[in-house]
């Protein structure tokens, strides 16, 4: 696939809902998360998702400062979530 701009591959965190469902028992794409780097608070579904066709996992970056919030990688022994600058997640009541 010829690419002139890697930003063309940018998606929304919302598209990661299925994979996140393997880690969390509830849907966290509507949950607010705070970027520990710049302090922005936004739903995970609104953050930037980078999932390159050849890559083994997905990288979620803060949509304000680009800092890496977390990485989700599929490994032979399970799915691994590596936390980067995500400082907290807040689930709404009943969410």
């Amino acid at each position: 696939m010829p690419l002139t701009d890697e930003n063309e591959l940018r998606l929304d965190g919302n598209a990661l809902a299925g994979e996140l469902g393997r880690v969390f028992a509830v849907d966290v794409t509507a949950a607010d998360g705070r970027c520990g780097h710049c302090g922005r608070v936004a739903p995970l579904g609104a953050q930037h998702l980078y999932r390159y066709p050849s890559a083994p996992g997905a990288v979620v970056r803060c949509s304000a400062c680009g800092s890496m919030l977390f990485v989700l990688v599929d490994l032979p022994d399970g799915v691994r979530m590596t936390i980067g600058s995500l400082s907290w997640l807040r689930l709404a009541p009943g969410g």
Partner: protein, 251 residues
């Protein structure tokens, strides 16, 4: 109890194709029977997983087109150049075939019919699919929410759901549908004929002061330029919800 919810969320279900409907020359709607479908909210998607005979698996996300409350689940899929999953779904799938899906998923890009704010929908190409689910749901529940759909496609023939949208737009309190064509226009076309830009959004969208709920879906480049323009027009970034499809070609 939490375990039950967990299993429900993670389960891959086997869907059976009960009907196929061509929408355009490259877009097809797949009508599925999904056992124990838990119901969905307008805007949600499913993950589809195909497994080849040699065990190779490919997964993609597709928006749900049918409104909640129907017995069957409909996905509308566009065939992408070199798309290994979409080529199969649009080109080779037959009635009676089965494939795995997981969902419904995604809690962010979701419209709540109880929200009384005006609803602005902006679509590029097959980005209209989750927005159509919202429009259909709005009609099904008799919601009066003022609704506008700005829909960019290459040509008139590339407008997905064209007939249904024309019908839906005729009633009282019906959604206003504003197509814009970026390619060849038919003779006598009096509608918009350019890419979505800030001036077009200023003309079609409600003023920011009316605080519309906004959903934008389509190829990444279109979504980002529309979202930027809307924020420049004064709309709160938090009310501009986006769903990027990635680099899926121009619209």
């Amino acid at each position: 109890m939490a375990g039950t919810a967990l299993l429900g969320r993670l389960t891959w279900r086997l869907g059976t194709v009960v009907a196929l409907r061509d929408e355009t020359s490259t877009v097809r709607t797949i009508v599925l029977d999904v056992p124990e479908w838990p119901g969905h909210r307008p805007g949600q998607h499913v993950d589809v997983r195909l497994t080849a005979e040699d065990g190779y698996q490919a997964e993609r996300s597709y928006s749900i087109a049918s409104p909640p409350g129907r017995e069957q689940v409909e996905l509308t899929v566009e065939r992408l150049p070199d798309g290994e999953v979409s080529s199969y779904l649009v080109g080779e799938l037959r009635e009676g075939d089965q494939f795995e899906l997981r969902g419904p998923i995604g809690g962010y890009f979701v419209w709540n019919a109880g929200d009384e704010a005006p609803l602005l929908l902006v679509a590029g190409g097959s980005g209209v699919v989750p927005l159509m689910c919202m429009v259909r749901h709005r009609a099904a529940v008799g919601a009066r929410t003022p609704t506008r759909l700005l829909y960019s496609a290459r040509t008139l023939d590339d407008l997905i759901y064209r007939t249904e949208l024309e019908q839906l737009a005729q009633g009282d309190r019906s959604p206003e549908v504003v197509p814009t064509l970026t390619g060849v226009t038919p003779p006598g076309w009096t509608g918009l004929a350019r890419r979505i830009d800030e001036r077009m959004l200023a003309d079609v969208a409600w003023p920011a002061a009316e605080r519309p709920a906004i959903f934008v879906c389509g190829p990444t480049a279109l979504v980002e330029s529309v979202a930027r323009d809307l924020v420049d027009l004064g709309h709160e970034p938090g009310r501009v919800k986006t769903e990027r499809f990635g680099p899926t070609g121009g619209t």
